[in-house]
């Protein structure tokens, strides 16, 4: 192609695309997902996709040894039993959680969060549980700890090993939710001026004092988690809110739209990584 024609092509590209060709960011989730996963596979070439569900323990041997020791008899065992019992207990109206979820709620965690085209918003597993309760005349549960974490622990356990399978339906609102989650993930905020990407992309695998920063790929696979730091279980909400305040940024409310969209983006990026929850973390 002659130089003159090449320039013409580039110019038209600019005019049409309205952005430099490099930033062809016309919300093509599939392409971005492929690039995202390729980035981490290059950063950690020896890691099979399944290992990305083990966060810091996939990228640090000393930490992994301590994890394997704790996983012999994990402290979330009590929450798991409480979750199973609660999941199988009928509501006052005779229904139970099994009636709200496909396949009786067994082995479905990997499909969450999904985009609810009727309500036009991202529905996480925690939100779906509370919607189920309210649909059956029960009070919604608090989000970050307690019974909600036990229920999601049990549902995660029934999905162990099943790869994330998050879909973005052909609906502009779904694309917008994905885009909003992406924006949140890459936007720096708080006095420390970090974004999620600053630690979980750029510095993935490195130490932040005693912590090893988990790669963003598969980072939600192990939830809900028992953190030694908390001495108790916590859901994704609890982790998002505590992380926000560590950035000296005002945490949002649990199940805030931004957090749900962030979870949607992160889970979609992790398609193919198997569920490893419930998990234990430092």
């Amino acid at each position: 192609m002659s130089l003159r024609r090449a320039i013409a092509v580039v110019l038209t590209g600019l005019l049409l695309g309205g952005a430099a060709p490099g930033a062809l960011d016309t919300d093509n989730p599939q392409a971005e997902q492929a690039a995202f996963q390729a980035y981490f596979k290059n950063r950690f070439p020896s890691l099979p996709i399944a290992e990305f569900g083990n966060g810091p323990y996939a990228v640090n041997a000393d930490m992994r040894k301590q994890w394997e020791e704790i996983m012999q008899f994990p402290p979330y065992d009590f929450a798991l039993d409480e979750g199973k019992t609660a999941f199988e207990t009928k509501f006052a109206d005779g229904k139970s959680y099994a009636d709200c979820f496909e396949n009786g709620g067994i082995g479905v965690r990997q499909n969450f969060p999904y985009f609810d085209t009727k309500a036009g918003e991202v529905v996480t597993l925690d939100l779906a549980i509370n919607r189920c309760r309210q649909a059956n005349g029960e009070k919604p549960l608090p989000y970050q700890t307690g019974l909600m974490v036990s229920l999601t622990a049990y549902m995660a356990e029934t999905s162990r090993g099943r790869p994330f399978d998050i879909k973005i339906p052909d609906d502009p609102r779904a694309l917008a939710a994905y885009e909003d989650g992406k924006r949140y993930f890459y936007t720096r905020r708080g006095q420390l001026n970090f974004s999620c990407a600053s630690c979980h992309v750029t510095a993935a695998g490195q130490r932040m004092r005693a912590d090893i920063l988990a790669p963003a790929l598969g980072i939600l696979a192990a939830f809900p988690i028992y953190r030694s730091e908390w001495g108790s279980m916590g859901t994704i909400d609890r982790r998002f809110t505590t992380c926000s305040s560590q950035m000296r940024s005002e945490p949002l409310d649990p199940q805030d739209k931004s957090y749900r969209n962030l979870e949607y983006f992160l889970s979609y990026m992790s398609n193919g990584v198997p569920i490893s929850g419930p998990g234990t973390r430092p």
Binding site: R188, A197, V201
Partner: protein
Amino acid sequence: MRALGIAVALASLAATAHAAKQEDAQAALADARQAEAQAASYGNRWLPAEAALKAAQDALAKQAWDDAIAQANRAKALAQRAVEQSRDQEARWRDAVIR
């Protein structure tokens, strides 16, 4: 009688100074709140700004005007920094996206 007059004059002088300080403090606090509201509009409130704002309110309640002014100014500065951060990031977050 004269001594009493002077005392009264001095007292009223102090009172007006007191009142002026109070107004300054309240104005500073209003500015800080306004800056913080702007940061909130970007969904980017900083915890240290919140803390300084609260400290300013507490100081105001205790009529510690100088302290209130200092804390309010600190809150405003932090909130403004948050707004700058948000504006900057609105333009540049896409640069970080993995492609």
